[in-house]
């Protein structure tokens, strides 16, 4: 029996370690918020007459709107310890089918626009259901399933259009959702739409049973299954959510760019995944916040915008984002290891312990 060893280690445990894991996500959000603030201040100092002006910031929040919608679904998926590589392709495919439907209806009027919205969401939902079914029931790894649907959805979009972009978007959509403002303000309508979705799904993730089961499955699928959580059904729902939001992204993209932009979304999935991970969601599941994802989206967006304004080659943005991504995961990993080591001496010297001493 090794009982005496165990007793010692239990006794040496201090209350410093408690809350360590739950705090992880929020700490990382805080650090990312600081990084974002620093970037913002630097650009504001370098270009005080352009960068911090509302006209410029307005452009940034307009540009991240579609990625934010995709980021919601991706956060849910990654919290379950999954991944969805297909979001960009599903966005394109949904946009194509929706544009085809609106073309058939004459391409004008609010009625047509509404049909377009419903078709786009519905088509995205179907791709999501397919992903979810293959992951949950057929037990194919999510990376492979969504790599497959990434190719299939994009290929089918090209088959449907013969590779030629469709530009049949109702004027009503592009004038309002596309580049219109919220009535009586200069806030882009597309940003408000994204913000509403972000708030709704942040509440779902953090306050409801659906959200709790999402964390539980990512934390320990087996533990969730044993207490009667309907794991398969939940996973299908989460991938369907991601697909449905990508479909909605499709109609937003159509509205904003006035074209199906078939070739324009090849990096979208990776940009969204990077934002989710930078924002403190663990790719191993069980931890993450929608708020973090939003912070994670703004870092590349602000960098891109800022580099252009200060006259640096915008390609530096990719270098910077890559670095931030790896650094974020590195810091996260270190902290996670320290936290799960619990009572060990090393953990006391870690950032986690420093943080928890403040409570």
């Amino acid at each position: 029996m090794t009982q005496s060893n165990v007793t010692t280690s239990v006794n040496t445990e201090t209350s410093n370690q408690r809350n360590a894991l739950t705090r992880l996500a929020s700490i990382q959000s805080l650090q990312i918020a600081l990084v974002l603030l620093v970037i913002f201040l630097v650009f504001s100092l370098l270009a005080p007459t352009i960068f911090p002006q509302w006209s410029n910031l307005r452009q940034i929040v307009q540009n991240v709107a579609i990625l934010a919608v995709l980021g919601i679904g991706m956060t849910f998926v990654i919290i379950t310890a999954g991944i969805d590589l297909s979001v960009g392709s599903v966005l394109v495919f949904s946009g194509v089918v929706s544009a085809k439907a609106m073309q058939a209806l004459g391409s004008q009027g609010w009625g047509t626009a509404l049909v377009g919205v419903i078709v786009a969401i519905g088509v995205g939902l179907l791709w999501g259901l397919l992903n979810g079914f293959l992951v949950a029931k057929a037990k194919v790894p999510a990376l492979i399933v969504t790599l497959g649907t990434l190719g299939a959805a994009l290929g089918l979009a090209q088959v449907i259009t013969n590779g030629v972009d469709i530009r049949a978007v109702p004027k009503e959509l592009s004038d309002t959702v596309g580049y219109g403002n919220v009535w009586g303000t200069t806030i882009p309508l597309i940003t408000l739409i994204a913000l509403i979705l972000v708030v709704i799904f942040a509440v779902v993730l953090h306050k409801t049973k659906f959200g709790l089961h999402t964390y539980a499955i990512g934390s320990s699928e087996e533990a969730a299954r044993r207490v009667g959580v309907k794991v398969d059904r939940h996973l299908i729902a989460v991938y369907a959510l991601s697909g449905g939001l990508a479909g909605f992204g499709g109609i937003l993209s159509l509205s904003q760019f006035g074209t199906t932009a078939i070739a324009g979304q090849s990096q979208t999935n990776l940009n969204v995944i990077a934002a989710v991970v930078i924002g403190g969601t663990s790719i191993f599941g069980g931890v993450g916040t929608i708020f973090g994802t939003m912070l994670g989206l703004f870092i590349p967006a602000v960098l891109q915008n800022g580099f252009v304004i200060v006259g640096l080659q915008p390609f530096w943005q990719q270098v910077a984002v890559g670095t931030v991504l790896v650094a974020a995961v590195f810091v996260d990993q270190r902290r996670r290891n320290a936290a799960t080591r619990g009572a060990s001496a090393k953990a006391k010297n870690s950032l986690t312990a420093l943080w928890s001493k403040k409570q």
Binding site: V6, S9, Y215, E222, R225, R226, G228, G342
Partner: protein, 255 residues
């Protein structure tokens, strides 16, 4: 024992894995308010029996009765609904969730009204009820809001047991609950077992620790090579006899 009907009774449970007979016509019973220890060497079929009785295993043959009525235990949920709870060796807690969330996982309380219907959680009530459950067991769970993954083995064990105790109305299975624990924690677990028994719940306790078994069990059921080979009244047995029965030295004599 007050009751004359076993709260859980198994007759002729049989299950083979290929050529291996993991369970060979096993009979087993536990009465309300009784602690039955299930002992046996590795591979004797203890865990397989627990799986069968907690809805985690399909059987080739055999019948299970709950409070005298025949039941089918096809899923863990079916067992839970009857009031059968299991503390698995690996505890089966979600490490990133806090003790309250683990306690109520799969059985969450929602707020009243429309918000509750769409799944809004009543965290306040759940926290209060978890606290009450931990207090009742005398379990020292330091933080109800920290993730259980960052807690010590003893605390996690206490949470897993408290969860099972809180939901078990009829029978509770404890698969090696003291294997990873220190002296003090082991004592606490044995104390918890007695308290649960005093509430009238049947407790089935798997252990390799013979002094613990003799200390806490009312009855000891020995398994060997997929069969239940002997039953002892723990007040009338000793360690030598139990070990002999486990290793087969008593074969033909004790059974």
């Amino acid at each position: 024992m007050a009751s004359t009907t076993p709260i859980l009774q198994a007759k002729g449970l049989t299950r083979s894995f290929g050529a291996v007979r993991a369970l060979d016509a096993v009979d087993f019973d536990v009465y309300p308010g009784e602690v039955v220890a299930l002992i046996g060497d590795n591979g004797a079929g203890k865990s397989t029996l627990v799986k069968a009785l907690s809805g985690n295993l399909d059987l080739d043959a055999g019948e299970i009765y709950y409070a005298g009525e025949k039941v089918e235990l096809n899923t863990p949920s079916a067992a839970s609904k009857l009031g059968i709870e299991t503390v698995h060796q690996d505890l089966a807690l979600a490490p990133h969730l806090n003790p309250t969330q683990n306690m109520f996982l799969g059985r969450e309380l929602t707020t009243s009204g429309v918000l509750g219907k769409i799944g809004f959680l009543d965290n306040k009530t759940m926290r209060a009820r978890s606290q009450a459950a931990f207090d009742e067991l005398g379990a020292t769970v330091r933080s109800l809001s920290g993730p259980v993954g960052a807690m010590s083995g003893g605390q996690r064990q206490a949470i897993a047991i408290a969860r099972a105790v809180a939901w078990a109305k009829g029978v509770i299975f404890l698969d090696e609950p003291t294997a990873a624990l220190g002296v003090v924690q082991t004592k606490n677990v044995l104390e918890i077992i007695r308290r649960v028994r005093d509430k009238g719940v049947g407790v089935v306790f798997i252990s390799h620790n013979m002094p613990n078994v003799i200390e806490v069990a009312d009855r000891v059921q020995v398994m060997r090579l997929g069969r239940s080979t002997a039953t002892f009244d723990s007040s009338k047995t000793n360690m030598e006899e139990l070990v002999a029965a486990m290793t087969g030295a008593l074969d033909g004599a004790g059974a």
